[in-house]
Symmetry: C2
Subunit: 299 residues, 2 copies
């Protein structure tokens, strides 16, 4: 089955202690869509400006991503610029130019409204609502978010939590949302806000699922060199949703392996700037790392 | 087989945001010895003062810990006092009174020199050397350490790394030792300093082994409430060594399960102040959590 993915489509300028890369393809939906495309057909919903490089549209095409829901509007593409510290864990935003994103309304083509798997990648909760309003009978809806929306759009986000099946966020966001330091305590509180599946991302420490079958401790693939972690969280959730949409059987049966596949796609994402490494990756490489993770966690 | 454990034997006063507990049984060797005792006979090597409460000697006795190597000297027992922040991750030392520990020389009884499994729990590297000097043919030697020794006794510690089989340290200590931010990069550098097995502890994120069979990602048992993490790292390494000393087969075959058993004993340690919860734990409870961890990590 195909996955509908809405989120940001951006040009990222990323500075790390060693190098600076201007105008990389970025945004939550770009990372999630390419990640999901390894496993399922993807329908991308987003907006870019007239300045959006053709090579990036070609990149989407190469991954067979359906662009009927990608609006190309007069004006500039959303541009994010950020800088990483030496340890690659702390990031600070240098610049955000919304461009065409400022007035973006994600109107879905008729062909998109019957999608069964919906990923509301990181974007304003009001836009995530707007997409859900247009869907007919989605089977499985997952949302991601970021600290910004917890700060400026909390009521919208809380309403969204009552409409989705799964919620994915990182550990500091979980703390911000619940005021609970303990990650398992935080997950309990988030369940009470609505979602049946809660996934907390912990970067290089992996991720944790709390769902109907209890907890799952999902490993991160061991990388001895991280080039650029931007988009790793989006790749994780995108890969997870792509895998779930493709898998036979129940969501409950498949959720753990979905997370592991997302985790592996995220590991490739970290090995290059922006989407450069992810875009070069082949399915066989992903399957190999999933097998390795099986061996690295058995005891 | 029995495990010889040398380290500190102390009285700990621990303050958390909710409560203060004076004069708990503590010290790296106390935690490690009780943890190891679930699996193997233990020979404890340490020193206490005349003020050392009888109830703590009885606690050691209940765990069948051989105290022939525990010196009881005129003077005061080593006393450590510390405080935890709200999130239980950051600890600061309020007070350290060395007492009889200041002039401690760990002289081994004749009966101890043939022990095959040796755990040099956290203590000055010069004392760890002194114990090794007295051993005849140890089969498997593991050392733990702390940031203090990296700061004030680095040459001694580096010499020790050439004499041991396994080295256990936490992620910030690994960074301090190698100047390497990436944990897998740090482990590669530590292997070059001597140890065949390198274990990095990451608190609630679990631990990682780098050994002859590659990496192992060891989970932490999910706890939704941590009462006091003091001694969790010592319990982990103690439990691991106790399990290894008891297991049949090669160290390589057993190392992963040893770590998981250590991780589970550490989880009990975190559920009470000092050793209170660990001392109440039964072997069957440990085995149950190990089985749970197997289920929580399978995919």
């Amino acid at each position: 089955m195909s996955v509908l993915i809405v989120g940001s489509t951006a040009l990222d300028s990323i500075k790390t202690p060693k190098v600076e890369n201007p105008c990389l393809l970025g945004g939550s939906a770009s990372h999630a869509a390419v990640a999901a495309s390894f496993f399922s057909p993807v329908k991308l919903v987003g907006v870019v400006g007239k300045d959006f490089p053709k090579k990036y549209l070609q990149l989407y095409h190469r991954h067979k991503i359906d662009l009927a829901g990608l609006q190309i509007l007069p004006g500039k593409t959303f541009h994010w610029s950020g800088e990483y510290e030496v340890n690659m864990n702390n990031r600070r935003t240098l610049l955000t130019e919304l461009g065409v994103f400022e007035t973006f309304t994600p109107t879905l083509p008729e062909s998109h409204r019957d999608a069964k798997f919906v990923l509301l990648a990181n974007i304003a909760p009001s836009l995530q609502h707007h997409v859900l309003d247009q869907m007919r009978h989605p089977k499985f809806v997952v949302a991601d978010t970021m600290d910004l929306w917890l700060n400026i759009a909390l009521p919208d986000l809380l309403k969204l939590l009552k409409r989705i099946d799964g919620f994915v966020l990182n550990d500091s966001e979980a703390h911000q949302l619940t005021k609970e330091d303990n990650v398992f305590g935080a997950m309990k509180k988030i369940h009470k806000l609505g979602p049946k599946y809660v996934v907390i991302k912990k970067g290089s420490h992996g991720s944790i699922l709390s769902g109907p079958r209890g907890y799952f401790i999902c490993p991160a693939y061991p990388l001895s060199r991280v080039v650029d972690p931007t988009g790793a969280g989006d790749s994780f959730v995108g890969g997870m949703m792509g895998w779930l949409a493709a898998a036979r059987g129940s969501i409950d049966d498949n959720f753990r392996r979905g997370m592991v596949h997302g985790s592996v796609v995220a590991s490739f994402c970290c090995e290059g700037f922006g989407l450069t490494q992810t875009a070069k990756t082949r399915r066989a490489q992903i399957d190999r790392r999933v097998k390795e993770l099986e061996k690295l966690t058995r005891f």
